[in-house]
């Protein structure tokens, strides 16, 4: 037979179990990022230029191919890696070379980076090379930006760099 005191004790234990549980489902608050910082995200998904030139097909082996398999040119599949660099004023935030995906390096290159920086005005330089045959950077964006507290600024690429 359970006594009234036991019910009281049970209530106490249920409380001891659930109260910390309820508290811990939302508290203490986690300070993830200083509110005075802003975020810059760089997200580039782009296929680099094909490495090498197409050559005209021909020769004995070509002639032996069935007609439907004959193509006028044989082109390489490998694509250039992406070389990316992000600068804020004179400081380089990151510089990376991302190879093309795929077993034959014939897919797209994808780059994602997230940075937190103090708020304020900056000169942003986003540089990219997508062709190993080209010296230096063949894509670039120079822009003065103003970052506000907790702002998220995204630099992406679609036929050219753009800031959102």
């Amino acid at each position: 037979m359970v006594k009234p005191g036991q019910y009281l004790g049970q209530a106490l234990l249920f409380g001891l179990f659930f109260l910390p549980l309820v508290y811990l489902t939302s508290q203490p608050v986690y300070l993830r990022q200083d509110p005075q910082l802003a975020t810059i995200k760089v997200a580039v998904r782009h296929a680099g230029a094909v490495v090498g030139e197409c050559v005209a097909a021909g020769g004995e082996a070509y002639d032996k191919l069935p007609v439907n398999m004959r193509r006028p040119e044989i082109c390489p599949r490998e694509r250039s890696p992406l070389r990316l660099q992000l600068r804020l004023d004179e400081q380089t935030l990151f510089s990376v070379t991302e190879p093309a995906s795929g077993l034959h390096s014939d897919g797209v290159s994808s780059v994602y980076r997230r940075f937190t920086v103090p708020t304020g005005r900056y000169q942003l330089s986003m540089l990219m090379n997508d062709d190993v045959a080209v010296e230096g950077f063949n894509w670039q964006l120079e822009q003065e930006i103003e970052l506000l507290p907790a702002q998220v600024m995204v630099v992406s690429f679609k036929g050219g760099f753009r800031i959102q």
Partner: protein, 522 residues
Amino acid sequence: MAPEHRGQAVKSALKHAFNWLESQFSRLFTAQCNPLYQLGAMSFFYYWIVAITGVYLFIFFETSISGAYASVEQITHEQWYFGGVMRSFHRYASAAMGICVTLHLLREFAMDRYSGVRWFSWVSGIPLLWLLFASAIGGYWLVWDVQAQYIAITTAEWFDVLPIMVDPMASNFLNEASLSDRFFSLLVFLHIGIPLALLLGMFIHIKRISNVRTNPARGLAAGTLLAMLVISLWRPALSQAPANLDVAVTEVGLDWIFLNPYPLIDDWGPGTVWLLLVGLSTLLTILPWLPSRRPQQTPIAVVDPANCNGCGWCLADCPYEAVTLKVHDFKPGRQQSVVDPDLCISCGICAGACPSSSPFRHVDELITGISIPSLHIKELLPLTESKLRELQGTGRVMVYGCDHGSDFANTESESVACISMPCTALVPPAFIDYVLRKDLADGVMISGCCEGDCHYRLGNTWMNQRFNEERMPILRTRVPRKLVRTRWLGVQGQAQLDREILEFQHYLRHDTDAQAQAISHG
């Protein structure tokens, strides 16, 4: 201190802590309703609460960027109390399940219930931790508030360090413009699929044990529901500010029960946290086979076909389904027991269930149909007789106990004999009848693990049922019940057992009714 000794010290401290807590809980809840004895069953119970409330919430949930947050808010605030309570039950039951599962793991570790035959349940439980966390995290994601935004970005960045990701997952959460409605459909699919996989895993987790308890005691379940209702009304689960990917998450109210790795991902980096969690999971997985942890392999139960009549009582009582029946080796049309060496844990419960384990049999040597080599029934009989013949005076008590219950080192006296064995259910009820009928003792006391917490899962349950004539082999009706006492007090009930024995002896010496019953039975 060497690492293995440090590990043992931690385990020993944990065991003592659990034992102390369990005795306090048993006082308030009774042994039958002690939540610490049914952490697995409580986890199942919370799972069903989460599943049922989840189905309700899903009916009203909208799988779109703009609709997700709004629909959850609508459920919470515009369905008067019902929707809010259902949501709170959903959240708090999942958190409670997380805690119960963690305690369950710690307790099984502390009580040494993870190696040997038990490796399967232990190892199959490790992926369940991942599935449980994934289910809970997916649920928080669906709310699409600031916490969900933080989870989405951090989880995506966490997975992006794995070499399997071609396109960064985090690219899906760049800003508001990059988010897709289809993403929420995928999340809902995952939030249904992963808990279903968890349920399947839970089924596999208990597959190799018999008579599994997946429902907690009714009183405990009712109390839990009541407590959750009170908590849900007092502090309902609420969303935080809506997610806005154009604004960085600076402060967030975090569920520290399930999201505790996330701040580590921020501080240590995703790769380090992968190493930590995969390393921890691997360590837990191989724990049953670590040399310092591996228990001494005791010889498994042995069947003697000549004395086995294929009754199946041992099969019914084996807690690990280690016994099956096959065609008898030489008795036509009969069956005999077979022991699976991979499943036998050498508890001896089968020997206690065997009808041939009767000391009243007219045989030169008490060979039984099934027995464990470490304490054969044919050895238990002379051991019992020799110990009892040394007893003097009145109030002579035979105490049968188990190696996982109270220590008998200081319990024996000139009028008290004790025999400890792997599990008390190894004692056939006929032995008790024999001891009293032959007047070898005035009373018999059975002790062992706490009720509902048998080291071999079912020993004390089967003994109670045998004594109550609910399970074969029964303690015969002719045995005076006043001369037999069962006390399931566990290792923490040492002092109480000694007091109970003294009180029992006092009863046997002074109660005329008991004396009369003893005389008539003898």
